[in-house]
Amino acid sequence: MSRETLVNLTMLAGLVLVPLWALWADEPFTITLATRAVILALAAAGLNIALGIGGLVSLGHAVFFGIGGYAMGVLAYHAQTYTPLMEAPVLIEGTKSMPVIWLVALVASALAAFVIGLLSLRTSGVYFIMITLAFGQMLFFFTISWARYGGEDGISIYLRNGFPGLNTLVPIQFYALCLTLLVLTLALTAALMRSPFGLALNAARQVPERVRAVGLDPFRLRLAAFTLSGAITGLAGALFADLNRFVSPSMFSWQLSGEFIVFIIIGGTARLFGPVVGAVLFVALEHWLGGISAYWHIWFGLLLLGIVLFGKGGVIGMIAGRARTHD
């Protein structure tokens, strides 16, 4: 077993055991913190497919996070106010069912990622970063002025949405649901990295000229990766909204897009568990350092600087060494 696998398994064990301990010790807030970390990890795991494997530095992934959040917010809002979402040409009603909300969040954010990707993947480097940022800002300001759904104030949902067979109001049950989705996503990512698609996408990041010369189109590979990536981040957005029972335009903020990138860099770019390590560290430090000083971001920034300057490959890279090629 490689050291990286060991790090990953330890991380996974921690994600299972710490909340169980919190349940036993009656520390519900720890479970909420862990849920927040897992959901942010899922959002960054989505981004990791585009950024880590595909090399696409998207500074607009909060778009998909926000779309997922609003998919939940809008559907649940209509359900709790007993108003239809739409009457003509077909009647669409709100819902409090998580599976339905997830499906809508996945499809809506995949669609958005496809369209944004179609336009922005024509560019690369700094231009790509700027275009994705611009799309993020567009949706941010759109939702601010979207009076029907609360504008700047967002939407509050009184009760967490339901999942068949579970009581999602119990923190540990909602946590288990989120963790399951994260593990499924990581399993999918692991398979993807080794698959023919992953091989081609990874090569398109390193040597696009070569990929073209063997008859494959890097643009299409990247578009597929970006779409899948956006869909997963969108799913995380729906969960995040359900955790807080609140959505607002801040879910579209570019700072959040930046944080997703930071999670990946801290954990280790293109590492399977990089986003998980990054998100968990971020949430833990936010909690601890935030309790000590309101200016905790300064200390967090120093840590980030240290990792970027001295720890090539993020935390996982520092512990486990260089990424191994898959064989």
Binding site: A191, P196, F197, A200, R210, A213, V214, G215, H326
Partner: protein, 249 residues
């Protein structure tokens, strides 16, 4: 004469006032190695870019297997049977040697949209990639990270990736670039055997290799073909001697 596998007809390309390619017609026939030589700045790279699809010519045609491919983008030309090697190795350095060859096999298979099963578990891709590595003498390095290969081995891998495409024609951009005498001799032997599979359009600076390999040579100077013929004819051609080889050749 048989129909050429790859052919350019009156190819022209100008950048502003600079005529990088001017009315270039070259043909590549089955079983041959056709070398293109010329001094630096003669327009060899521009010509290759137009043949492979990276640059669109201002005028003229590129034909592959009798079909006009002038407007096809690079990937479509590769799928139509054109395999190229690069002057500066274009390899995925983080990946293993086998993975680089697999990428070629994957391109040839035309089925990159498979997301769940491991690429290394696909027997048909793997056999194709391994056969190509065997052919160029890199079978023992299959599991090595490409970044750890020597320069000469990278040049061999370039050829191996092209081989996985089972192409109708090879276009090789200075495959001997940066090789020592020994590496150059080894690659010369390899290319010599390759022409039976598919003809090679060989752009090369290494005159020993060109004279050892080429069935025909075309000389490019300032974007124009000033001479074309057998190795002996080119050696004797006074215009070529003056423009390119110098008196000592």
């Amino acid at each position: 004469m048989t129909e050429p596998v790859l052919e350019t007809r009156g190819l022209s390309k100008a950048f502003g006032a600079l005529k990088a390619t001017e009315d270039v017609s070259v043909a590549l026939h089955p079983g041959e190695i056709h070398a293109i030589i010329g001094p630096n700045g003669a327009g060899k790279s521009t010509l290759i870019a137009q043949i492979c699809g990276a640059l669109v010519p201002d005028a003229g045609q590129v034909r592959l297997m009798g079909r006009d491919v002038t407007r096809l983008p690079v990937p479509a030309r590769a799928r139509a049977g054109l395999a190229r090697t690069f002057q500066i190795s274009q390899l995925a350095m983080e990946d293993t040697v086998l993975q680089n060859a697999l990428l070629g096999a994957l391109g040839a298979s035309g089925r990159p949209w498979r997301f769940l099963r491991p690429a290394l578990g696909d027997q048909s891709l793997r056999e194709r990639a391994e056969a190509a590595l065997e052919r160029v003498g890199l079978a023992a390095q299959a599991a090595t990270r490409t970044a750890e290969l020597s320069h000469g081995q990278r040049r061999q891998l370039e050829v191996a990736v092209a081989l996985t495409l089972a192409p109708r024609a090879f276009v090789m951009d200075e495959p001997m670039a940066g090789l020592g005498a020994e590496g150059s001799a080894r690659l010369t032997r390899l290319l010599d055997g390759l022409r039976a599979e598919a003809p090679i359009l060989l752009v090369e600076h290494d005159m020993d290799a060109v004279f050892a390999l080429a069935d025909r040579v075309s000389v490019l100077v300032y974007g124009r073909v000033i001479a074309s013929g057998s190795v002996d004819e080119i050696r004797r051609d006074p215009a070529v001697r003056e423009a390119y080889l110098g008196d000592s050749a």
